[in-house]
């Protein structure tokens, strides 16, 4: 039998997960700028990169680094396009399990759907005056190899992701902060074009 406080906490977590899930469902599209900071413990260095992100329900994601390097990842249903310099590679996610996982993880993190992915993560949520902070502990072997935990920050009013933290075994971590977020605006189809 669970202690009363833990039961209440579980109930609260469930309620917040449900709220965020509903908000994600009603979000048809999203676009924002992002800043990614990778901290390298061994070198005591931060690598900062910036870019743009576009998301459209149900399976479209455009993740583009613009500074200090260019790299674009476009997911359109089952196809992924990777652009690096003049090189364009198209991958069918159904033929490549690793890319299927990456694409699913990226999309689910951005909109917060991974909170309800109980097969992949064990989730707990803390609440502050302005945000919900969800800590996700990987349950699958391949996810455990990459991360010890993911921390997702949600604006508690808009129920949208504002920051994603990815912590690795060796003490390295990556923080992605989303800025200038706009939702439910029409996005040009060519943003998700795979060609």
């Amino acid at each position: 039998m669970l202690p009363l406080s833990l039961m209440a906490q579980n109930k609260n977590t469930q309620k917040i997960v449900e709220q965020i899930g509903n908000a994600a469902q009603s979000m048809k599209s999203m676009q924002c700028d992002f800043t990614q900071t990778k901290h390298l413990k061994m070198l005591n260095d931060n690598m900062v990169s910036k870019g743009k992100m576009y998301y459209q329900q149900t399976n479209k994601l455009h993740w583009e680094y613009t500074s200090p390097y260019t790299y674009t990842f476009i997911l359109n249903d089952t196809k992924v396009l990777l652009k690096k310099g003049t090189r364009n590679d198209v991958i069918d996610v159904n033929q490549n399990k690793m890319f299927k996982e990456i694409a699913r993880m990226m999309m689910n993190s951005v909109v917060g759907k991974c909170l309800s992915d109980t097969k992949s993560f064990k989730t707990s949520i803390a609440e502050t005056s302005t945000e919900y902070v969800a800590t996700l502990l990987p349950q699958k072997k391949d996810l455990k190899q990459m991360w010890t935990k993911l921390i997702l920050h949600f604006d508690s009013k808009q129920l949208m992701v504002t920051k994603v933290e990815m912590h690795e075994k060796n003490g390295d971590y990556t923080i992605i902060e989303l800025q200038n977020t706009q939702t439910n605006k029409k996005i040009d189809a060519k943003v998700f074009a795979i060609q």
């Binding site: 990778k38 070198l43 005591n44 576009y54 029409k186 996005i187 040009d188």
Partner: protein, 150 residues
């Protein structure tokens, strides 16, 4: 004739010395403790490639280096001792963490790291058909492509 040869040898030596100074001035490769460098990295295999960034720091006369992919996931950590020309592989990403892959990586990275201060940015392992490209990262430009909203 002997004097002429000695004279030419002297200028050749001076020329090579100046050229080497010029190479050191142009490169971003760490040459003294505390120096840091960042490279755009691409490793091409027969049917696939790995790309990302290599971040280096020289500390205690050893260069520590981390290769991370564009998403920030660590792929490889290694050290290079420029005096002994030795690479030590510290960590390799999941599926590449096999002794035979690490053996090839170690040997190839030794050559890559030896070449970089000489501004030789590519190295091809012809035996295993692997091409390594390390280009200094240009951190000055924003290369955004802006999409028009409908």
């Amino acid at each position: 004739m002997l004097k002429y040869l000695q004279f030419n040898r002297f200028f050749l030596a001076i020329g090579l010395f100046l050229l080497s100074l010029n190479i050191v001035a142009q490169t971003e490769f760490p040459i003294k403790n505390g120096d840091r460098a960042r490279y755009n990295v691409q490793i091409d295999f027969k049917k696939a490639y790995i790309s990302g960034l290599c971040i280096m720091l020289m500390e205690d006369d050893v260069i520590k280096a981390s290769v991370v992919n564009e998403f920030g996931v660590s792929a490889l950590d290694f050290t290079y001792n420029p005096f002994k020309r030795k690479v030590k592989i510290l960590k390799v990403m999941g599926k590449m963490n096999k002794w035979y892959i690490k053996k090839v990586l170690k040997k190839d990275l030794q050559q890559v790291m030896f070449n970089l201060p000489l501004d030789i940015n590519t190295y091809e392992d012809t035996k295993y058909n692997i091409k390594y490209t390390f280009n200094p990262l240009d951190e000055t430009q924003d290369k955004s492509i802006h999409y028009l909203e409908q």
